[in-house]
Symmetry: C2
Subunit: 321 residues, 2 copies
C-alpha cells in the first residue's frame, strides 16, 4: 500500500480498512452500512469508550502503528472484562492527518483487529476523518452472558483484594523508554503492548467477585475508586506483591523503588477484584489486601499500604500536570 491518507481518500481508506476485518459469530452486520448490528444474547450490552491521542497516550517513535492498535484496543476491551463481560465488538473513530502514510493506519487496524481476536471480539464499524493530531477513539461492546455486572461499588468489609495480570511492567518500560533505552525488552514490550487478562473478568464474576476494576491509572488510584464507590477502606500488603527480580534490577539502575511501579503504574490493565473471604481463588489470582470498614466518615474511600497512606505518584489525571 503506497501513498498517504490524503491520497487514498476517506472512502479508499475505509475500503482498505474493512477488507482486513474478519467477522465473528457475534457480528450480524459488519462495517459498510449506517450502523453495525452485533449480537447481544444476554439482552443487555456492556459499552465503554476511550480516546487516545498521539503525544499524550502514545508516541510514534516509541511504538509501531501495530502496537498502538493493540494497546488502544486492549485498553477498551479490558474495561469490558472488568465488568465481568465478554468483549464482542469494537468501533473505531480515527482522526488522521492527510500526510500520514496509509500504511500506518492499516497497521494500526491490524493491531486493533488482532487484539480483538485475542479478546474474542470483532471490529464492526468506525469513522475516519482528517485532522492534525492522530486520535484513536474506541468503543468496545460486550456481553454479560446472564451474569450481573461486577461494578466498583460492591466491595464489602471482610472481602479479600486479589489481582491478576501484570502490574508495574508498563510503568517500568515507560521509565526505561523515557531515559532513552530500548531494553530490557520484556518491560518495553509490556509498555507498548499490554496483555490484559480478558478471560479472568468473566471468570471473576463467576467466582462471585463483589467488585472489580481494570488497573489503568495505577492500582492504588483505581482501588481508590472502588473504595469510594463501595464506601469501604482497603488495605494492601506490600509484601504480598510479586516484584520480579528484573524489575528490581531496573529500579536499582534508575533509582526508583519498583513498588512504585507496581502500586502506582497504570496501563498494564491488570484486573483487581474483591471476593468474599471464603472464595477459592484459582492460582492466577494473587491476594494482596483486604477490605475493611472505614474508621470514620472521613476515611471512607481510602486505600492504604501496610496501614499507611500511599502517596508516591498515584493516579493519572489527564488534565493534571
Amino acid at each position: 500500500m503506497q501513498g498517504t491518507v490524503g491520497e487514498l481518500g476517506e472512502f479508499g481508506l475505509i475500503r482498505e480498512l474493512t477488507s482486513r476485518l474478519p467477522r465473528t459469530a457475534a457480528v450480524e452486520l459488519g462495517p459498510g452500512d449506517d450502523a453495525a448490528v452485533v449480537s447481544a444474547p444476554d439482552g443487555r450490552v456492556v459499552a465503554s469508550t476511550d480516546v487516545l491521542l498521539e503525544g499524550r497516550h502514545f508516541r510514534r517513535d516509541w511504538s509501531t502503528a501495530y502496537d498502538v492498535g493493540r494497546k488502544s484496543a486492549a485498553q477498551n476491551l479490558a474495561d469490558i472484562a472488568a465488568m465481568g463481560a465478554t468483549p464482542t465488538a469494537l468501533l473505531l473513530g480515527l482522526v488522521a492527518p492527510a500526510e500520514l502514510p496509509a500504511t500506518w493506519v492499516l497497521e494500526l487496524m491490524d493491531g486493533i483487529r488482532d487484539e480483538c481476536q485475542v479478546a474474542g471480539a470483532a471490529v464492526v464499524g468506525g469513522d475516519v476523518v482528517r485532522g492534525d493530531t492522530i486520535t484513536v477513539a474506541i468503543t468496545a461492546l460486550g456481553d454479560l452472558q446472564g451474569r450481573a455486572p461486577v461494578t466498583r461499588s460492591g466491595a464489602r468489609p471482610g472481602d479479600v483484594v486479589a489481582v491478576t495480570g501484570w502490574l508495574g511492567w508498563s510503568a517500568a518500560g515507560f521509565t526505561v523508554l523515557s531515559r532513552g533505552f530500548r531494553s530490557p525488552r520484556a518491560f518495553v514490550e509490556a509498555h507498548r503492548r499490554p496483555e490484559p487478562p480478558y478471560h479472568a473478568g468473566p471468570a471473576a464474576a463467576q467466582l462471585g467477585a463483589t467488585s472489580m476494576i481494570d488497573v489503568s491509572d495505577g492500582l492504588v488510584a483505581d482501588l481508590g475508586h472502588v473504595a469510594e464507590a463501595s464506601a469501604v477502606h482497603i488495605d494492601l500488603r506490600a509484601a504480598d506483591f510479586d516484584v520480579p527480580a528484573q524489575m528490581a534490577d531496573i529500579g536499582q539502575a534508575v533509582g526508583v523503588d519498583p513498588l512504585t511501579w507496581v502500586l502506582s503504574g497504570g496501563e498494564d490493565h491488570a484486573l483487581v477484584a474483591t471476593f468474599p473471604p471464603d472464595t477459592h481463588l484459582p492460582s492466577r489470582w494473587r491476594i494482596v489486601g483486604e477490605v475493611t470498614r472505614p474508621a470514620g466518615l472521613s476515611r471512607t474511600g481510602t486505600v492504604t499500604v501496610d496501614g499507611a497512606p500511599w502517596d508516591r505518584a498515584g493516579g493519572w489525571d489527564h488534565f493534571g500536570a
Copy 2:
C-alpha cells in the same frame, strides 16, 4: 461554573458532566464504572460511531456549544434510525484543550443530552482527555425491537424512492453563514441544529422499507451508496422535490440553484428509503424517484436525476479538497 477544563481537571469535569445526565429505562448501569450496561431487549445491538472536529465539522463562532452537542448527537442517532432501530444510548469521547472554558463542555453535554432525549436515548458513558483540537467522538446504540435491520443493499427494481425530513436546509444555511449572514434564521438554525426524523426510521422498517440510509453527505451521494450496495439504478425526478419559496429566494440572492442544496446538501439527516411500489406511505414520506435495473454492468450503482447524471457538488469526502 467558573474556570477552564484544565482548572476543573478530568475527574472534576466528568463529575460535573455526569451530574447533568438523566437515566432512562434502558440504562441498567450509567456513567461512573469501567463500562455502562444498556438494555438490548432485541438480543442484538445496533452501533455506529462518528467523529467531529472543530474547524472541520463545526465552528465555535458559528455554533454554540449547545448546538454542537445537538448536532453531534443527531448525526449519530440518525444512523441508528436509518437502520430501522430505536436509539437507546450514546457514549461520548471528548478531546478538550485545557484552556477551554468548562462551561463550553457542559453546554455541549446539555446539547447531547437534549438531542438524546428527543431520540429516546440516554448518555451512558464517555471519556475526556486533554488535547489541542476539540474533538467529539460519539457512539450511538440502538435496539431493533425484533425487526430485521434495514440495510443499504435491499433496494429492488420497481421500488419507489421516498424521503422524509429536511433536505437542503443545512446546506442553504451553510451558504448563508459562509457569506457572513446570520439570516434567514430558519436555514441558519437548520445548519446549526438538524432535526432528523428519528421515529420515521423504525416506522419505515415496519412499512417494509427494502433499503434506507440517512442523508449525511447529500441525497444523490448517499443514494449512490444504496445503488451500489443493492446493484441497482436509481432515478430521481427533480419536479417531485419540495423547494420551499424561501430557499428559492436565497438561491436567487446568492446565485445558487436551490436544487443543488436539496440534492447535494448533507447534514440535514433526512431519511431516504426504498419501498415496494404498492406500499401505502404516510404523508410525511414524499416519493421522489424509482429504482430500476442497471442498464448494463457499467451502470450498476448509478443515480440519475430526470435520467441524466447529476454532477453538481455531490458528496463529501473527508480527505478530499
